[in-house]
Structures are given as structure tokens and as C-alpha cells.
Amino acid sequence: MPDLHSALLIAVAALVTAALRFIPFIIFVGKRKTPEFITYLGKVLPFAIMGMLVVFCLKNVSVTSYPHGIPEIIGVATVAGLHIWKRNTLLSIIVGTVCYILLVNFIFI
């Protein structure tokens, strides 16, 4: 439900995002070299976080009750398979989402 708390959540997301974008320009103004550990995290974190976000999206799927996560498995497999095949981001997202919508509305009711 939209309310004050929601507005505050959006403000927090906006401020933190802006801070992340501005910090490098404020801190690394000189010729100082970026610490090696930071460079390392910058390289590996995006890979790990994307994995976490996939898990996050599937967090409410129950394998013990009907339909046992089957629509999600088919949906994810469709997106991944199509993406490996065509490497077209928009195509993978649109086909995968339409496929999932059809599954949960017409097949796994």
C-alpha cells in the first residue's frame, strides 16, 4: 500500500544510489590508486549479487506444495536457454515472462 513509509523507502534508495555514483568523484580526485581489495570486490561482487537476486526472485516458491515450483523451473530454463542461444536480452525477458504468465494462468491453475 502506498504510504509515507513507501515514500521514505524510495528516498533511501535514491539517496544511496546517488551516493554510490558520487563517492568515487569525491574520494578519488587525486592520483591516488584504488585499494586492491576494493578493485577485487568490484570485479567479483556483481557476479555474486546477480546470483543472489535470482534466488531473491524465487524466494516465495514452495517446492512442497502444488505446483512444486514447476512453472518457475520452466520459466527460468526458457529464459536461460533462449539467452544462451540468441544472446538477446529483451527477447529472453519477453518470451520468458509470457511463457510464465501462460503457465500460471492456463496450465498450472
Partner: protein
Amino acid sequence: MKKHKEETIKALKATFPVFSGYIVLGFGFGIVLHSKGFGILWAFCMSLFIYAGSMQYVAVDLLSGGASLITMALTTVLVNARHLFYGISMIDKYKGSGKFKPYLIFALTDETYSLVCTEEGENSHRYHFMVSLFNHTYWVSGTVLGAAVGTAFNFAPNGIDFALTALFVTVFVEQWLSSKDHAAAITGVTASAICLIVFGADSFLIPSMILITAALTALRFIRKRKGDMKNA
């Protein structure tokens, strides 16, 4: 003035691929946001002020679940941490951009970054400003359009939020294919899955982020020691 016009046209042409991507992804975001009970004004404000695609998709879930401010802050830090590194690599390029600089930095999304850092030749800061502004406009328009269509037709099909899952699976696969080292990707999935089982769906994000950072730090330490032993 003629130069300004030429620059504007050049920026329009350069941003065309982003136009199609942002309109489609933004549209999806607007529809998903509407399906959770947040209308056009919310879509507009989020896209105008946050202006970070994947984070906005994650934020929809946190908003509708009524997450705490600290969860939102930490999630934003981790989902958007990559922007720190975009900034680091743009420090020289955006040097001396004067009055354009604050907006150039604010609007440095994945797509704008990839356009600006791969451009050929030297371009003016005004041109970079136009590129950033056009992309921002596409994104806001796409999301507002999605929310408007959702509101007008009450269009919120069951399962539309799978667009979010599909987006992340796509990026995950893309990253997987572009790298030979899958340790970090596997760490991310495994650590989050463990935390999901241990802490439950409503409170596993923060533990996951801590476990991932710790595991990646440990991994670096182990690999360094192995490397040292090989070199010894």
C-alpha cells in the same frame, strides 16, 4: 548553435539502442509496480529520482513487502555497488565538465556508462549531457507508460512479476558466458540459498550479503596463498 544541433542529433542516434531497451524494460517495470498497487506518480518519482533499473525492480518487492529502511539501504548498496567502479573509471573522462558534472554523475547508469566509455573520439561534455538526459527521459517515459497502461486497462496479469526474475536470469547468464571464472557466481547462488533456508524468505537478504562478502574475501585469501605457494 549549429554545433549544438549537430551534437543533439548525434546523441539521439547514439542512444537509440538504449531507447528500445529502456522503453520495454521501463514499461514492464510500470506494469509490475501498478500490479502491486503503486500508480503513475510512484513510477514517475522512482524513475526520476532513483534511476537505476534493476534496483527499481528489486525495490518493488521491498516496497510491497514493507521492508525496513535499513534493508532498503543495504540492498541498494549491494545491488548498485558496481556504480562505484563506473565512477572510478569515469573520473578522467568527466574532468572539467563544469555545470554538467553533477547531472552526468547522477545519471551514470549501466547503459549510459557503456555508451560513453566505448564512444569513439573526443566528445564535448554537452554531448555527454545530452546522451545522459535522453536515456533518463526514455526510462522515465517507459515506466510512466507502463504504469499508465496498467491503470487504464487495469492490466496486471497474474505472473507479470516474473519479468523481474527473467531480467536477473538474463544478466546472470550473460555474466556467466562472458567469464571463465564462475566461483563468484556460484558463491552468490549458494550463499543466498543457504541463508534463504536458514533465515526464511523475509529476512535472508542481509545475512546473504554478509555471507557473500565474507566468502569472496576468504576465496581471495585462499587463492592468494595458493598463488604464493606456487611462486615459492
